[in-house]
Subunit: 197 residues, 2 copies
DNA sequence: AAAATACTTGAGCAATCGCTCAAGAATGTA
DNA sequence: TACATTCTTGAGCGATTGCTCAAGTATTTT
């Protein structure tokens, strides 16, 4: 073989993800990436091909982590519905220390991506996958009897996702923490009622 | 006096707004604006001072129109609550012919604006104003007896706005129109129940 | 008609954009 | 040690960014 790479691909992706997540795609320049990744342009392009390719890789990473966390929460909860309610309530934290932004990176990127663009399809595909994941959990709940058979799980899943979108946008306004908590609890409770109907 | 301006300031602002609305702030270049406004850089800067100043002017325009439309809808509806429900249901139209994007320009701009930036405060101020407008309508409903006194109007207003945010993001995914309609109706119905409680 | 006053024009500025590539450095194998 | 292979470096490419300003043009006032 030959010389081994001196950078940590995983760490570089994580750093790039945090940068894109906070600043957005357009506002993140290669100079920014060079500085934060501590890599020269040549290395970045050798490793990730292009700015957009790197961006897509970070979107993959973000979506994978988001899905994994949600699946873990579902697995650790008594029922999928309670997991989703817990998740909604967790969005009340205005300034989370574990993530660079309260906004959803996928939503942020979706709104930034041009219409009828391949990148947009790439992002919506990820969002579709999350929706499917939620619906699958609800289907599972029906099979186990914790959710009424009459419930349209796909429809409820879209509703939950819409709440997540809305709450994460609200979190960007950084208003009163109490109000944010009330709002999250209202929507979490609402999901409980929607599932019962 | 002297030479009169050959451009229509109102029309120019409208065109610029539509451009920023669809493409976003960063992705809209001055070349784009020059082409669509049919104005040379010098004229643009003489008229609007800077790209960001022009952007803010278009945000003002957008917010003013949004508020006016909402107020008109409230005035034309039997009760404010029904107006809000009608509005939520109207978001079901995937490709509206009267607007360049289904997304909310304020939300789009909020997510694009850097954190702890003056521009962000500018945008959140507009969103706060809309929230206040909704709350005021609900207060009015309480005075007129069409909304229970027990209802926390500020809290409900934030809830409605969260639904609007979520629905407008969902509309960006351009999925099935039937599903979108179901979703909008679900949330509109829910607001009715939330107000009754 | 002349002067004053605005608005329009567009070449082009400095800075930055995403990106390339030849040269050098470090590791593996022989 | 010599060679092959891979990674790192960074100067700098052409294009584009937001923007300026001196010159030109149109309109009103005197």
């Amino acid at each position: 073989m030959a010389r081994t790479a001196s950078y940590d691909r995983n760490a570089a992706l994580e750093t790039a993800m945090n940068l894109f997540w906070t600043k957005g795609y357009h506002a993140t320049s290669l100079k920014d990436l060079e500085a934060r990744l501590q890599m020269k342009p040549g290395s970045i392009y050798a490793a990730f091909k292009s700015k957009e390719a790197l961006f897509r890789a970070t979107l993959d990473r973000y979506a994978a982590r988001m899905s994994a966390e949600l699946e873990a929460l579902i697995a650790a909860s008594p029922t999928p519905l309670e997991a989703l309610q817990t998740h909604l309530r967790s969005l009340a934290v205005i300034a989370p220390c574990d993530r660079p932004s309260t906004a959803c990176m996928l939503v942020k990127s979706l709104l930034e991506a041009p219409q009828e663009d391949e990148l947009r399809d790439f992002i919506t595909a990820h969002l579709d996958r999350v929706e499917t994941l939620i619906a699958a959990a609800l289907n599972d709940a029906q099979r186990k009897g914790t959710l009424p058979e009459t419930c349209d799980t796909g429809r409820l899943a879209r509703r939950v996702q819409t709440y997540i979108f809305g709450l994460k946008v609200q979190a960007q306004r950084e208003t009163d923490p109490d109000r944010m908590r009330d709002l999250c609890h209202d929507l979490a409770d609402e999901i409980g009622r929607a599932a019962a109907a």
